[in-house]
Amino acid sequence: MKYFPLLVFIFLFHCTVYCQDDSKKPVGNIVKVKGRAYIKDPGKPQRELPAGDKKVPIFAGQELGCISKCSISFTVGQTERTITQGTYIIPNLLKRRPPSNDSISAGSKTRGAKDILLSPVEREVGVVRPESFKFRWKILRSGERLVNISPLTIWLNECKNVDNIWSESNIDYKQTYFSSEIVKDLLKKKQKLDTTESIEVVVASESFSKKQRFCFDIISVSDERRLQDELKQSDSYDDLVRHTERGYIFHKFKLYDDAAEEFEASLRISPSTDYLLAETIRTYYTLGDVDRIGELLKRLRDIVPKSPLYEEMLILTSPKGH
């Protein structure tokens, strides 16, 4: 009993430090302050932010502003902002969905773990070829269990004016991909001579709370001709070299889906080649295929567990700081 007051003190101290609700968590930091600036908590008087102040945590509801000529650089979540006049009230951050695999991150910056389509590759990340075009999607899991997803509906629209050009419903989610000759012909017709053509893909399912949509680019006719010329040069090689060379060529032209298929073909012939595994991981990283990256990383670890190549792949695919 004589230690009871001490225990109460330790508990109260612990609570003062740690027992704060979520709203008291900082949502960002002050990066840089120039001139005379202030920070103000709701319902409290403003206090001056010392010039050159760094790493001061900021909270939702606080107000930042200039007293006289000033510049305040700060972060809110992953966004960095600078204000030189007026005020900025700090908003709360949105709750981020946990990624489907907590040890690997992949895919373009604008699309996340909740985006289901892996192929076609998004505009400004890569391009697609009508000849080999297909829709490929992630198989979602909750722990070990597969998430049951209702049939998919996929639309293709003009990217500029959203005019629908093709759609297909009741696509079985479990088949993991969908390919159609009609779509290939349609994309062929849309292909332009010297520039890429953008098409919007929209995917929906009764299991999704909203439609997922993004634009992708079709390779230009002239680039495809150059591609064919380069591909021809590798025709005479043996299978392993030919598939690998074709993989590199497709990768160079940003045709990542085609590159992945060629590297996979090489891996079937030579499953333990470390650099091939690494190239395939790099390609799937661009495509955002977390599941396949996980499988290939395990294979690479089994072959060269302490190699710089394996370390490089781990760094590439590890979740980036927020």
């Binding site: 939702a60 951050l93 990624p99 489907s100 909740k114 509906t153 009764e206 999704f208 909203k210």
Partner: protein
């Protein structure tokens, strides 16, 4: 000898009941398949076409203000808040019942306001709400699964936030409310929030039929699970019959003067502000060839909840109807068979067919009357008709097999 006709009648009823149970099992399984669901949706589309599709401006409780002419409207270039503020101030002078904006005002995914002027705009909305007593609601989409204090960036704005989601890809239901994970608070849909300002309670179905119907408020909530994210939602059927009428009665203007000139159109109405033209927010609706602007879906959902809600039978009610219809028919045919037991020339098979055809017609007409008069969508009425058509044939087949 006297017991033989009775025995035959019991055998007939037994075979009929067995047929009914087999067909019921097949129907329950078929409803879960893709073709079964398509047939149900086709039935839904067909029944919707029998709903009244016109209401005058006076009768219509909702009006859409089309702001398609305003610049912006994308994540990169949000709709200018100062222009929205001018529009709101002009609308308030027309004394509308309530105003909702079909625009996503959530903070950015990566952090920060969608537009730096958002807090000022939200403060204006709160002031109008408190001083003018005109409820204003702002749509949120990205933040809907976040805690309430993040819906519109700060806790003080959460009373303005409303959801904008529909069930996809079959948009026949609106998400009435959403409860984010680890939260006790629910975010109402735009349509529910507006409807609750128009009338104290939502319309109720006929009290005789009510026990057989899914209630609007107590609609079965469901845990959505995608990428380990779980949130609870409730859904309600949407009546799209007035979609074209709502579009034709919409006003496309962004000028405060013009809004005030049309003040009679907004007085005591529920106003939904959004883009009909120049929008990427296009959503497929069953029974419509082209995708429809989201704001028209919201307005249709408002109309449904205020004026003409749609209901559907509970699962138990559907099973009961599936059993009772053939059982009544069986009893009827068994009775006429028994009454004419001494007449060897009596063609009871013909009478059975006539009875089944009569019931099929009754189901078809009943489906239309139910939707027109009581707003009840009998989703599986086409499957019931197919089942009734198959029933006599299957019953004959089973009878033949058993008699061997």
């Amino acid at each position: 000898m006297n017991t033989k006709p009775i025995f035959q009648t019991f055998v007939f009823i037994g075979v009929g009941l067995l047929t009914t149970l087999i067909l019921l099992g097949v129907k329950v399984v078929f409803e879960q398949t893709g073709p079964g669901q398509r047939l149900e949706l086709y039935g839904y589309e067909m029944l919707q076409s029998y709903l009244p599709d016109f209401a005058s401006r006076v009768q219509m409780p909702v009006i859409v203000l089309d702001i398609g002419k305003l610049e912006g409207g994308t994540d990169e270039h949000p709709t200018p808040r100062d222009k929205l503020q001018d529009i709101l101030q002009a609308l308030v002078k027309t004394n509308p019942k309530a105003i909702a904006l079909d625009i996503d005002f959530s903070p950015k995914d990566e952090g920060g306001w969608q537009d730096d002027r958002d807090p000022d705009f939200f403060n204006t909305c709160l002031t109008i709400k408190e001083e003018q007593r005109i409820p204003i609601f702002l749509g949120v989409e990205r933040s809907i699964e976040s805690p309430p204090d993040a819906w519109l960036g700060l806790d003080k704005y959460k009373s303005l936030a409303v959801g904008m989601r529909f069930q996809f890809p079959n948009t026949n239901k609106v998400i009435l409310w959403t409860r984010p994970p680890d939260s006790k608070e629910v975010i109402p849909s735009l349509s529910l929030a507006l409807a609750q300002t128009y009338r104290e309670t939502l319309p109720a179905p006929n009290y005789l039929l009510a026990p057989m119907l899914e209630e609007i408020n107590a609609y079965p909530s469901r845990i959505e699970n995608l990428d380990q994210s779980e949130f609870t939602v409730a859904k309600s059927l949407v009546n799209y019959s007035m979609l074209e009428a709502i579009e034709s009665q919409s006003l496309a203007t962004v000028s405060p003067t013009s809004i005030y000139e049309h003040k009679e159109n907004f007085k005591d109405k529920l106003v939904v502000i959004g883009r009909i033209r120049e929008t990427r927010d296009l959503i497929p609706v069953i029974g419509r060839d082209k995708d429809i602007p989201g704001v028209l879906l919201q307005a249709s959902a408002v109309y449904s909840l205020v004026k003409f809600p749609l209901y559907e039978f509970t699962h138990k009610a559907r099973i009961s109807i599936d059993i009772l219809l053939p059982v009544f028919l069986l009893i009827f045919v068994a009775l006429i068979r028994y009454r004419n037991r001494k007449n060897n020339d009596y063609n009871w098979h013909l009478k059975q067919w006539i009875a089944f055809i009569a019931v099929i017609i009754l189901v078809f007409v009943g489906g239309i009357i139910l939707v027109r008069e009581a707003g009840i969508i009998w989703f599986d009425f086409l499957i019931v008709i197919i089942g009734l058509l198959i029933h006599p044939l299957l019953e004959k087949k089973i009878g033949t097999i058993l008699s061997r």
